[in-house]
Symmetry: C2
Subunit: 303 residues, 2 copies
């Protein structure tokens, strides 16, 4: 089974949605990604937490088969995010961000992680993402995420990074902002020009679009009765995607399409509850059943 | 070949989009619907125009195989709409609406139209839509559209109508408004409770969702480089959908799914140019080629 190296954040989230609220629950891009990917492949996690990070969380991640040799505990408090969602669950509203120990995060990759064949650079400063790449040997596939904060603040560092990225996963608004193009088809052409072989544009409740050379794949989102909490959906998507690619060790477009559906399956479960609640009680059988439902959801016959 | 009766508007549109503008061009729900459906089936059009409506347009519609015995020309001016779209092409901004002769439209169905097996009630007053249904004999399938204006202004008349409708086609915001539910899955359950067997929710550049009993189908939109003018996309979609259903004379869910893709194909062409320009030079070969592209766009393999 191939391993995935993920570098990102581990955090405490306080979230309110139209369906309820959760205080100081486990969150962070690397947490969601790892938990999701752990259903498919081994994960090597690199992140930083403060002294307040409880052993119970470490044990819980560990029992999922996530290797935590790269999780550093340093003096200070863990990263905290507080926000809410209104009825438009595609839009997070941030109330408070306390970077705490994350503000001086300088990812050091343990030597036993440097030959991981799959690498996911979650949304952190593109200069740090680049530092990670400088520490790894020749990975088979490098994927990364980013956000509007870095697109606006460090566009040149981001573009340097993209030269070394195979698969770039961002949301719709970010794709438009980064490319300066309102049309996603044009935006994709611009962004693929920066280096990535494949671009995946996440569209929340509308699914995802993949651009790979001249080929386009449209994946729906699973129509859910209620979305309790969209926090972490994007990283959970990326975790399912990378997890499936690593487990099958096949990075053909055919397999990337399948991996996008697995990513969508994982994200659809994650939003059914707060924090990692739903993923914590998820089974492989449920994953495979929902994959089959995606097939039914999109099926039509040729003429 | 089965015939489709359509009742709706024929209008002159003045439209501005980020890509250009068009003044007093042919538009209206019945016009877009008929032109789109005419690629697949015979169309019987019922609408009203003023004395200013040129013979050239009548000739042009006629040569498409659209029967115009139900198009009444009455004293006064033809319906005019003026609007613009910004970069969010899902949102039309109305500048002027002059109903003119359309304000006293009272659809009379020519006797030779009353046994049409397929009926499409385009977006007009639900009381008039009901009057149309009172004039037709037992159609095989009745479909209808509406808009927020009627949902807000005549909700009871609309609900009465929906008891007699098989297939209801509305957009996402309208589905939420009519049902009072933010979740589309819940909204669909409420709306199907009003009577229709099938609900199709149009989501513009995000495609369409079909709810049929417990079954859901997600159709993507075709990823276009540029959307020149979204005017008429919904009616063009409905025209392709109903046209294909009528031509195949098969209203099974399997065939409705295929028909939704044909509707999406037709809409994707329509938005490539102003007014009916693109449909006027469209070929059956192009339609079938784009249908095949939708298959590639959505294809992924099972595990």
């Amino acid at each position: 089974m191939s391993r995935i190296l993920v570098v990102g954040s581990v955090a405490f989230d306080s979230v309110e949605t139209p369906f309820g609220k959760a205080e100081e629950v486990l969150g962070g891009s690397a947490t969601y990604f790892s938990t999701s990917a752990s259903f498919f492949a081994g994960v090597n996690l690199v992140a930083v937490v403060g002294e307040d990070f409880p052993e119970a969380h470490i044990k819980s991640l560990s029992t999922k088969g996530i290797d935590l040799a790269g999780l550093r505990k340093v003096p200070g408090k863990t990263f905290r995010w507080k926000g809410y969602y209104g009825y438009d669950l595609n839009q997070a509203h941030t109330l408070e961000t306390h970077l705490n120990v994350f503000s001086s995060f300088n990812p050091e990759i343990p030597s036993e992680y440097t030959d991981a064949p799959f690498v996911f650079l979650a949304n952190i400063d593109p200069e740090l993402q680049m530092k990670v790449l400088e520490q790894v040997k020749s990975p088979r596939l490098v994927a990364c995420d980013t956000m509007n904060f870095w697109i606006e603040g460090k566009p040149e560092a981001l573009k340097e990074l993209l030269k070394k990225v195979d698969l770039f996963v961002i949301n719709e608004g970010e794709a438009r902002e980064l490319s300066g193009e309102a049309s996603l088809v044009k935006a994709a052409r611009v962004i693929l020009g920066y280096g990535p072989k494949t671009l995946i544009v996440k569209r929340g409740e509308y699914g995802a679009l993949m651009f790979n050379g001249g080929s386009v794949f449209s994946a729906p989102a699973y129509p859910l009765e209620d979305i309790f909490d969209p926090t972490g959906a994007g990283d959970t998507f990326a975790g399912g995607l990378m997890g499936y690619l690593a487990s099958s060790n096949d990075i053909s477009e055919k397999n990337i399409r399948r991996a996008i559906i697995f990513g969508s399956v994982m994200a659809s479960f994650n939003v059914e509850a707060f924090s990692l609640e739903r993923l914590d009680r998820l089974t492989l059988q449920e994953i495979n059943e929902r994959f089959a439902q995606f097939k039914v959801l999109t099926h039509f016959e040729s003429i």
